[in-house]
Subunit: 496 residues, 2 copies
Amino acid sequence: MELAKQFRNMINKMRAYEYVFSVLGWDSNTEAPRESHQLRAEVMGVLSKELFAMQTSKEYQDVVNQLIDQVDSLDDLLAREVKKAKKNLDKVVNVPESEYVEYMKLVQLSQLVWEDAKENNDYDSFKGNLEQLIEFNKKFALYYAPDKDPYDTLLDEYEDGMTTKEYDAFFGQLKEELVPFVREVLQKTNNQYDHFINDTFNAKKQEEYCDYLIDVIKFDRNRGLMKKSVHPFTWNTSPQDVRFTTRYLENYVFSSIFAAIHELGHATYEQQISTEFDGTLLSGGTSMGIHESQSRFYENTIGRSLEFWQAHLGKFKEIFPHQTQKIEPEDMFKAVNKVEASLIRVEADELTYPMHIMLRYEIERLLMSGTVSVDELPKLWDNKMEEYLGIRPANNSEGVLQDVHWSGGMFGYFPTYALGSAYSAQIYYAMQKDLDLSQLILNNQLEEVNAWLKEKIHKYGSSKTPKEILLEVTGEEFNPKYYIQYLKDKYTKLYL
Amino acid sequence: MELAKQFRNMINKMRAYEYVFSVLGWDSNTEAPRESHQLRAEVMGVLSKELFAMQTSKEYQDVVNQLIDQVDSLDDLLAREVKKAKKNLDKVVNVPESEYVEYMKLVQLSQLVWEDAKENNDYDSFKGNLEQLIEFNKKFALYYAPDKDPYDTLLDEYEDGMTTKEYDAFFGQLKEELVPFVREVLQKTNNQYDHFINDTFNAKKQEEYCDYLIDVIKFDRNRGLMKKSVHPFTWNTSPQDVRFTTRYLENYVFSSIFAAIHELGHATYEQQISTEFDGTLLSGGTSMGIHESQSRFYENTIGRSLEFWQAHLGKFKEIFPHQTQKIEPEDMFKAVNKVEASLIRVEADELTYPMHIMLRYEIERLLMSGTVSVDELPKLWDNKMEEYLGIRPANNSEGVLQDVHWSGGMFGYFPTYALGSAYSAQIYYAMQKDLDLSQLILNNQLEEVNAWLKEKIHKYGSSKTPKEILLEVTGEEFNPKYYIQYLKDKYTKLYL
């Protein structure tokens, strides 16, 4: 079929450019010298113009629209791909080019403004940009779907099929059941292991341990690698090339370890996607939420389990004999699960983490509906922080200014973090019907866990929606009760 | 001027693609996972087609040809750039596209065939490819310059202005004056330091010492970095981004050290080029020969001097206390200048190195003129080896099959290695009139050496030809006598 072939060729060419942007980004985020940025930006300018021209060309639009007209007669995979292409296309072509260019400039500028504002604790210098970013996002959402709540459109963009209706129900339940539980646990936590947790661990030796973890997770080194960067992340261009980073803080060894396991979760997902989707729009993980469910599963369900430390404390003690003299697996289990009310999302523990997300979701909802202005934002933030975690930021840098997302124009992204954790719990209970996870962790047999996840989730790439995957894997639709149950079980045993 | 602006835009766009190929190459040669190669090859296929279309487009040809017609009225830098563009263009457009495609396939294939042939010591499996590569190169040279000796055309391609006439004179002098001297020195060398040279040095600690050398050479870390790779090399996209690699052999510590200093020579050259040439065809070092003169100067004249080890043995002893207990700077000086008749070019010492190049030049000359067939090649190689160094390869893998160049279609490249060393000596004697090099090395003041080289050579990038640079820096044309004098002085003191 000629049309499908044209479509494939066009996608192929665009993906070559996207591949290039990926590699330049990887280079830039992991090692490129400081002063190399300008030339890279110029090159990306030249190439993104080329790519944009392809993405919006009359030729490409014609092919996509002709395929959409006959989408019911296409085979299932191609039909899904074409629908995805159409959705992407509609998002781009409905925005007037001048507004798009203006918005891209605003985003670039806002990131610098935000960096300075955070550095100098100067929210006022950023709020004008924030207001514009919100307005642009609303406007673009309305271009795409004039009849829908703009926040619904944005939420769906980051997690296919999710809207305020679902998230309201989800966060409503968390608020009702988790907030009191968190309060209770927080009263019982202590500083028993703080000296150990913040002891000095040589960075090179931490690297040696993280390298060991690669093999624990059974990550394929022929199709990936680990490196370091300021902010840990996973990167991939195909299942044959999946890379991740971690970071080394000499006075907080858990940072490198759990960032590594978290990213190994993302990375294992990407490595296990079927190669049949290579070069199509169905390659890569299906959504932010499902991706985060995998990273959180490896990090928390596996990495913060007692069995994990029964199996892998030995190697840790071998590398760090002095710091671990009195540490047994049970100590490690407690230390890595320390709960604490803290101000910074990225440093939050597993239990208080969803509180940080709930707060952001509620605020985004109010911002997008125009109920709250950017002027009222800092106070609102601090009040909610006090309400959910009982602590108040001393300044906006550790409050409303802490995250990069809004300065990058990302509204609707945060909720996927909590959603991922909740998916993860629901998947965990389904997995328990087939596997004895504790035993597999204890026996260092994670290849069996990988195989189960590959068969149920990973191999499908983006060829199934998050909702389809969840339904097929767990036999029911998304249900937050598993998440609440998982957290209550785990932290009751640990603290109550 | 409209035409110049069009030219600039076109060059700019093509350079964006070249930048991308550079970054993909760097990634591939330093860290990319083994199985990532296929997708990268596909992407490069897509993008090189785009680039080739630009490079050979009617539009671009028109602009270049129109500028060439009025080249005498252009300002000097633009005129030089346009002439360069015209030369590049003529090389591409005179070759029929089908032949070009066929040749590119042959090169790709030949590299694999060569790898196997070398691995299996099977010259016969490679000689057919070699013969075809030679024929293509001859043919292409004749398309470009029908009236010239093809080898002259190829030599000029790697070193502007050099032909068999100059090289015959150069290698003739080497043969006459150096061959007997080398024989004499070889009789006096001994194995006094072999135990130390081949002692075990931990790779991570070698890396620490090489990192120290970055600061010794005063290389700017904000505009570059060091990494490791199988074959050391220097890489750059602009003076703001210059990277190099070294390699770590645990039983031969000099490999990492002198590869690092050698590449730091290349890298310092690139970092010191004036940014006014950024984005033009005048950016980057001017030629293979001048580049090699810089790397060899840092490696041999600086790095293998007594003063260097008077200044930097201390740090080496600090990192390797056990292996260096009885080693004084004079010992190090002798150890790093050990002369030995050896079969492999890349492992040859400074004195015997030009013998390896002379041999290759003489053979290429015979191959290109058709005087010698590929069948006769192995024996010819071995005979010449015996003539110049008194040793005979036991097999073709350590003889005629050892280098990658010919399998990559590079004929005329080798001579630039020896030429670079000879340039280096001529520049060294000129430098001595302005600087007390020994004292500067001893005082760890290489910034003054860098500054001299920047002012005389580096800052000009490719805006001057090798011949212009040599004449301006040394006051005379290329003269091999300095090289011969330098080697005789140094090795007479060391051995005779």
